[in-house]
Each structure stands twice: as structure tokens, then as C-alpha cells.
């Protein structure tokens, strides 16, 4: 047992950090620190810088453009990325559909899609949830019917993150209505520019526009856009969801936010002195930092285990990371609310285009608090994660 990073790993951390210092556009970083939304251009610009460096799809197999890093290197890269902070790669392309395509897709599909995912030539979005299918995803109703050399797709998806920017969607569709619910689902990809696709924004309680409803009305999709086998889509979806294990804890994000809280708490006054001098506040902050340290160690244990024993099947430990990671993220936004106090109230409309530039940074704190309520809901709600632990770990 040895917790120390090797000299090589430490040098790697320094290399990554230096690359971020030299290459993350300062405005992009500042907006992230202040909890602002980034424009599509700002995100794509950064991802292409990352891709040019060869780090855009770092965890993919080498032949598709990956780096061949060890688990620990991936961990270090993610931590540095999150805590610098710099925008994380577009998960829908890089972490979700990419691995499904290089694992289950045919050669033609790999050639066609993978390089464009890596360079974000296509912006991907995820067509999983439906109005009637949240935690019970397998009950989904969007159907794809085979008609000659086309799929005809009808139905509705929801909570589709950043679909307003998307060029492509990967979609779970019911292709065999007579089969048991998990058995009749297929994984189909298609252009968001197709005739019959309508995107309608959902405004969330923070006032932002991240998620959308997406409607399909007789959308015609070439038959070859099926990934893998027909009616095996549920397996690919499970693979996709289990693939992303350690990033979900978002330890780096919380670390960065805790540093910001410490910084602000040294400036904002309460009772005639900086809030950080208030013992009760300081202890609350320390409590959160301790929880985060424990989570970081738990994450390292999972990372080390992956490094030793391979990724294999989804590890139920990822449920621990999801539950604790989301709780801690939420606590950090609560602490920010506490620091800012009455100045949480002023409201300003903010969009994704950076038009809120002139706004005082304090106006982002309440929206960020509201927005972060999502983290215990998405990606399998924390209640679903508890079901997974009860079943897979405790055998209940």
C-alpha cells in the first residue's frame, strides 16, 4: 500500500498543468470560475486545442486516437482539468457514443464518426430519457420502424442537454414492441438536421437553457445508422452508463469551488470581519473539505483497482462516487450561498452566449446553487444509486 504518486506521475501532473496554463483561453477559465455559461464557440475552440495536443479523447484505445495513459494518469488529467478549471470534453461524444461506436460499431461507422467526435466536428447529444421514462428508462416509447432501407422514427425525448448546439443524436428507440421491455430497444444515430426533428428549449429554475425537449415526427434515418445489433441497444446503453466511473465524482470541480469559497470568505464581511474568521463557518467549510478528501481517496481506490484488474464490468463503487460526489457538489454551492448572503438575490437574465458579461459575479451564485440540484438527479438519481448498492453490493 502506497499512496504517493511516482516521480513520473508527478512530472505528468506538472506537464498537464503547464499545458492548461499556456493554452486555456483566460476568458474561458474566468467564466468557469465564476460559474458562467460558455458559448458554443468557446467550448469548441478549447476542445480543438485539446484534440490538437492529442488529449481530446485521451481514454480511447490508441488506434482511435487515445493516449494509452494509465488509470492514474487519467485520474491526474481529469483532476487538473476540473480544478484548473477548463471545460471538460463533451461527454456525449467523447465518453458516451464514442466508446459505443468503437466497441460495437462496424468499420465504416468507426471511420465515419470517430475522428469527427474527437475534433467536435459533430456536436453530439443523448436521446435517452423520455417524458414517461426517467429512472425507468427501459419503458421508453420512441419507436423506429423499418421501412425499406430506412428507419422511420417517431416519439419524444427530453432533458436533452445542449441539443440546441447538436449536429448528431444517439437515440434509444423501440424496434420490437412485442419483446420484453429491455429486449426490443436499438441504438440508432442520426443527424439533428433531419427533417422532422424539432428542438424545444426547457428553461430550468436557474434561468438557464441547458436542456431541451426533442420531438421526432416521421424522421427518416438510413438503415446503416443502427449501431451494433438490432434490439441489443439496452446492452449498449448499460455499457455506456457504466463506462464513466470515476469522473462522476467531480472531485476536481468541488476542490476548485472550495478554494473559491475560502477566497471569497476572506473578503466578504459578517459582523465587521471576514466570514472566514467566524468559527462556525470555518468548521462547516472544514467538514466539507474532509468529506471531499475521503471521496478523493475512495476514487483513488477505484482508479487503482481499475489499473490493476482492468475495467471489466461496471463497479458498484461508482455508485458511492456518484452519491457522495453529488452531495458534496451541492454542499459547496450551499456554502457559496452562505458566503454571499443577502447579495444572492439580484437577478439577471443569463444565456449561454456570454451576454451576461457586465453582470456582477455575485449574480451567478444563486443560479449555480439552483442548477446544482440536478447533480443528485441526473445520471441515475441518487435513489437509483442506492438501489444499485443494495442489490449489487449488499445482495438485498
Amino acid at each position: 500500500m502506497d499512496l504517493a504518486f511516482t516521480k513520473e506521475e508527478q512530472a505528468f501532473r506538472e506537464e498537464v498543468r503547464q499545458f492548461f496554463r499556456d493554452n486555456v483561453p483566460p476568458d474561458t477559465r474566468r467564466k468557469l470560475v465564476e460559474g458562467r455559461h460558455l458559448s458554443k464557440d468557446e467550448m469548441v475552440t478549447w476542445w480543438r486545442i485539446l484534440n490538437k495536443k492529442g488529449w481530446g479523447v485521451s481514454h480511447w484505445p490508441k488506434q482511435y486516437g487515445g493516449t494509452g495513459w494509465t488509470s492514474v494518469q487519467h485520474y491526474i488529467f481529469n483532476e487538473e482539468l476540473q480544478s484548473y478549471p477548463a471545460p471538460q470534453p463533451l461527454a456525449f461524444g467523447v465518453s458516451m457514443v464514442g466508446p459505443v461506436i468503437y466497441t460495437f460499431g462496424n468499420e465504416e461507422q468507426k471511420k465515419q464518426y470517430l475522428p469527427r467526435i474527437a475534433n467536435v466536428d459533430d456536436w453530439w447529444c443523448q436521446g435517452f430519457s423520455e417524458p414517461g421514462s426517467g429512472s425507468d428508462l427501459a419503458s421508453l416509447k420512441t419507436k423506429a420502424e423499418r421501412k425499406g432501407d430506412k428507419w422511420i422514427i417517431n416519439g419524444q425525448k427530453t432533458w436533452t442537454t445542449l441539443a440546441q448546439h447538436a449536429d448528431m443524436i444517439f437515440c434509444l428507440c423501440r424496434t420490437d414492441p412485442s419483446a420484453k421491455k429491455q429486449m426490443g430497444i436499438s441504438f440508432i444515430v442520426f443527424s439533428m438536421k433531419s427533417k422532422g426533428v424539432t428542438v424545444r428549449p426547457i428553461q430550468t429554475i436557474d434561468g438557464g437553457h441547458e436542456v431541451n425537449e426533442v420531438f421526432f415526427d416521421d424522421v427518416e434515418v438510413p438503415i446503416e445508422n443502427l449501431i451494433g445489433e438490432e434490439n441489443k441497444g439496452w446492452d449498449y446503453a448499460k455499457f455506456l452508463l457504466g463506462n464513466e466511473r470515476t469522473g462522476i465524482a467531480r472531485v476536481g470541480v468541488s476542490k476548485e469551488r472550495l478554494r473559491r469559497i475560502r477566497d471569497l470568505a476572506g473578503k466578504v464581511e459578517s459582523g465587521g470581519k471576514p466570514i472566514i474568521q467566524d468559527a462556525a463557518f470555518r468548521e462547516k467549510l472544514a467538514a466539507c473539505e474532509i468529506e471531499l478528501k475521503a471521496l478523493e481517496l475512495t476514487q483513488l481506490r477505484v482508479v487503482a483497482d481499475e489499473g490493476k484488474h482492468g475495467k471489466g464490468k461496471p463497479n458498484p463503487a461508482s455508485s458511492v462516487l456518484k452519491i457522495k460526489g453529488s452531495e458534496i457538489q451541492q454542499t459547496t454551492t450551499e456554502l457559496l450561498m452562505e458566503v454571499i448572503g443577502p447579495f444572492a438575490a439580484p437577478y439577471d437574465v443569463h444565456g449561454d452566449d456570454g451576454s451576461n458579461e457586465a453582470m456582477d459575479w455575485t449574480a451567478q451564485i444563486a443560479p449555480s446553487y439552483f442548477n446544482n440540484r440536478k447533480v443528485s438527479i441526473y445520471g441515475g438519481s441518487n435513489e437509483i444509486q442506492r438501489n444499485i448498492i443494495a442489490k449489487a453490493v449488499l445482495g438485498l
Binding site: 500500500m1 502506497d2 499512496l3 504517493a4 504518486f5 511516482t6 506521475e9 492514474v72 476542490k255 472550495l258 478554494r259 475560502r262 468559527a279 470555518r282 468548521e283 467549510l285 472544514a286 467538514a287 473539505e289 474532509i290 468529506e291 471531499l292 478528501k293 475521503a294 471521496l295 481517496l297 475512495t298 483513488l300 481506490r301 482508479v303 487503482a304 483497482d305 490493476k308 463503487a317 455508485s319 458511492v320 452519491i323 457522495k324 435513489e383 444509486q385 442506492r386 438501489n387 448498492i389 443494495a390 442489490k391 453490493v393 449488499l394 445482495g395 438485498l396
Partner: protein, 380 residues
């Protein structure tokens, strides 16, 4: 970075787990409690035979040169089996003082007896008003000729009733809360002027309140610098905290296991109560709490070797906070999920709960350590 045990460490774990599986089930434990002193000399002898009492000592001193990870393995196993024997007091704490600062003569006088199991130690530190501050010492040691005279009262000295030798913290100079002028002395338990009042503790261990009245010891009784012993005390108590973290992890593992087994078999409304989601989620939360505790126990074990004393203390304080929070949750929910049977002396779960609870209040509780971390500037 590596969280796996080495081959030798795996063998160590197997051997102590094996020993305790054979000789430490809940019924056997009840018998050991009734023996003189409240623990089993026979089990202690077996621990000695397997080399566990000599584990952390240098090979030159007759030990096995084990490090923090080895102690963690042993303490986790002792926790799992709810062991009564005074490993913490004798090997970790008493032995810790000798390892870190004992003179050759002191080591020669005490280590062989510790290692072969013939002698146990106790740490006389807590005072009526000192609470968790290790520097808050009023028991005095005054120079007399070549030696020292000790006067004062110590409380809740674990294994204080049975130990042959007491390790006593004293004030040799200055005022009650000064950080200098503190000395540590080895005092024979049968020395003239030592009087003990022994009693069982809430968790089934044994402790004593001890009064020192004009107790005379020689100049060779002081461990380390008798006028500047606080750093040594902090070092050894940090190791004790790390050991308690590991013990608590073992206790939590067993508590969770026992609870899950119980809710799988206990039937109400015609089904196992473990089929109810509210109970499943509670058990899942217990698992999360126990895993977070395990992570911090490992962190504390590694932190033990940090060169910077402040960094070490801060990390160990943080671990004690996490362990304190986790053990309270796991302990309380284990009782809740057992229902009425969890309230009885007859069921083993309550005894785990009681030991966990006492660990929280030993060498600094959650609030105390949280304040320490906060005052040290946090942990990020």
C-alpha cells in the same frame, strides 16, 4: 499509488483473522469478559505466539519491524471481532512511547515483556479537566535528587487496572496549559503512592482512575526529554488515533454485515424486511459511510509517515472526523435496522455500537478534530 496489500501483509491478515475466527466468537468473548481483569490471558498468549505483540518493534529490539499498514491490519481485525485485550494500550501506545523515544535501557527493560505477552502497559493521560487537550496537564513531576516525585490524578486509564507499567504524562514546569514543561514517565503500577480504582467501561473494556501521591521514580524513568515531551505525546497519540480509525473500520464492517444478514432473514408482513426499499437505502447509506471511513483510515495510516508534523496531525484529525461521523451513522442505523432485538444485551450488534461510540470520544471527538482542521486552515 497502490492500495493492495503485499504478500506478507496478506498473510498477516489471514493469520490474525484465522486466529480470531477460531477463538473470538461472541459467546467466547462473553467468557473472556468474566476472567480476572476482564480479558483472556490465553488469547493474549496466542497473539504473542503469532508475533502480533512484537509487530511494530524493530527487529533489533526483538520485534518484526512492521509499519503503519501492519498495525492497521491488526486493528481492523481486532475491531471486527470486538476484542477486549489491551493491544492499543500496550503495543500501540505504551510500545509507541518506547519505540519513538525509549532509551536502550528502557527498551531492554520493557519490550521483551510486551513482546512475549507477560506484561501490559497503560497510558495515564486524561485528567479531570483536560478533556482532549494533550498539553493540559496538572499532574506534577518534581525533581528530587536524581529522580522525580509524581503527584496528581489520572482518569479513565484503559487497562489501568491490569497493567504492570504506567506511562504517565506530567507537568515538570510552567502552568497547566503551557505547551512546554511536559514530561512522560514510566511508573511501575505497584510503586508506593500509586492507588487505583478499577471499573468496567461502557464498551466492556476495563479502565481505572489512578492517584499518584508522592510517587518516587528514578532519573531513568523519563521517556525522552522530561521538560519537552509534548511532540512525543502528540506523535504517539496520533498513532493511537490512526489505530482507532482502523479498529472502527473493522467494527463498522462487521456491524454492516450483521445488519444486512439480519434484514435478509427477519420476516414481517410475510417477507424479509430487507425487501423494503427504505431499509435497503439505509443499508446502502451505511455502506457509503463505511467506505468513506475506510478511505480515511487508509489516508491516516499513510499520513502517519508524513515528515511534517502539522500536516500529519491535520490529516489524522481529518480522518478522526470522518470516522466519527461514519461510526455514529453506521452504529445508530445498525441498531435501528435490528429493531427491538438491537436494544438487547443478548444481541451482539449493541456491543459493536457501544465500542464504536466510545471510540468517537477517545483522543478527540468529531467536533474537537473538526475545529482543529478548521483552525489549521482546512484540507484543500
Amino acid at each position: 499509488m497502490d492500495f493492495d496489500l503485499s504478500e506478507e501483509q496478506r498473510l498477516l491478515k489471514e493469520s490474525i483473522d484465522g486466529l480470531l475466527t477460531d477463538s473470538y466468537d461472541f459467546e467466547q468473548r462473553k467468557k473472556y469478559m468474566k476472567e480476572k481483569g476482564g480479558w483472556s490471558k490465553a488469547v493474549w498468549g496466542k497473539l504473542a505466539e503469532q508475533g502480533l505483540l512484537g509487530l511494530p518493534f524493530a527487529e533489533a529490539d526483538g520485534g518484526f519491524g512492521g509499519g503503519g499498514v501492519e498495525t492497521m491490519i491488526v486493528m481492523e481485525a481486532l475491531g471486527k471481532a470486538l476484542v477486549l485485550e489491551p493491544y492499543l494500550a500496550t503495543v500501540v501506545i505504551g510500545g509507541g512511547f518506547l519505540r519513538h523515544a525509549g532509551s536502550d535501557a528502557q527498551k531492554a527493560a520493557h519490550l521483551p515483556g510486551i513482546i512475549d505477552g507477560s506484561k501490559t502497559l497503560a497510558f495515564a493521560q486524561l485528567e479531570k479537566n483536560s478533556r482532549y487537550d494533550l498539553f493540559d496537564v496538572t499532574t506534577t513531576a518534581k525533581k528530587k535528587g536524581d529522580g522525580w516525585v509524581i503527584d496528581g490524578e489520572k482518569f479513565v486509564v484503559l487497562n489501568g487496572e491490569n497493567a504492570e507499567t504506567l506511562v504517565v504524562t506530567t507537568r515538570t514546569k510552567g502552568d497547566r496549559r503551557d505547551k512546554t514543561g511536559i514530561g512522560v514517565f514510566l511508573v511501575p503500577a505497584n510503586a508506593k503512592g500509586v492507588s487505583k480504582k478499577g471499573y468496567p467501561t461502557q464498551d466492556g473494556l476495563h479502565a481505572a482512575d489512578i492517584t499518584f501521591t508522592g510517587v518516587e521514580v528514578g532519573s531513568d524513568a523519563a521517556i525522552g526529554n522530561p521538560e519537552d515531551g509534548l511532540a512525543l505525546i502528540e506523535r504517539v497519540v496520533d498513532e493511537a488515533r490512526v489505530a482507532l480509525c482502523a479498529e472502527a473500520v473493522g467494527l463498522m464492517d462487521e456491524s454492516l454485515k450483521t445488519t444486512v444478514e439480519y434484514i435478509k432473514t427477519r420476516k414481517q408482513f410475510g417477507v424479509a424486511i430487507g425487501s423494503f426499499q427504505s431499509l435497503q437505502h439505509r443499508a446502502s447509506d451505511m455502506f457509503v459511510a463505511a467506505e468513506q471511513a475506510r478511505s480515511m483510515s487508509m489516508f491516516a495510516t499513510m499520513a502517519n509517515d508524513f515528515e511534517d508534523a502539522k500536516e500529519r496531525s491535520n490529516a489524522i484529525a481529518a480522518a478522526k472526523v470522518q470516522i466519527g461521523k461514519s461510526l455514529k451513522f453506521v452504529g445508530q442505523q445498525a441498531i435501528q435496522l435490528h429493531g427491538g432485538i438491537g436494544m438487547t444485551m443478548e444481541a451482539k450488534i449493541g456491543h459493536y455500537f457501544k465500542r464504536l461510540t466510545m471510540i468517537e470520544n477517545t483522543f478527540g471527538d468529531t467536533e474537537y478534530h473538526q475545529r482543529r482542521v478548521a483552525d489549521a486552515g482546512g484540507l484543500v
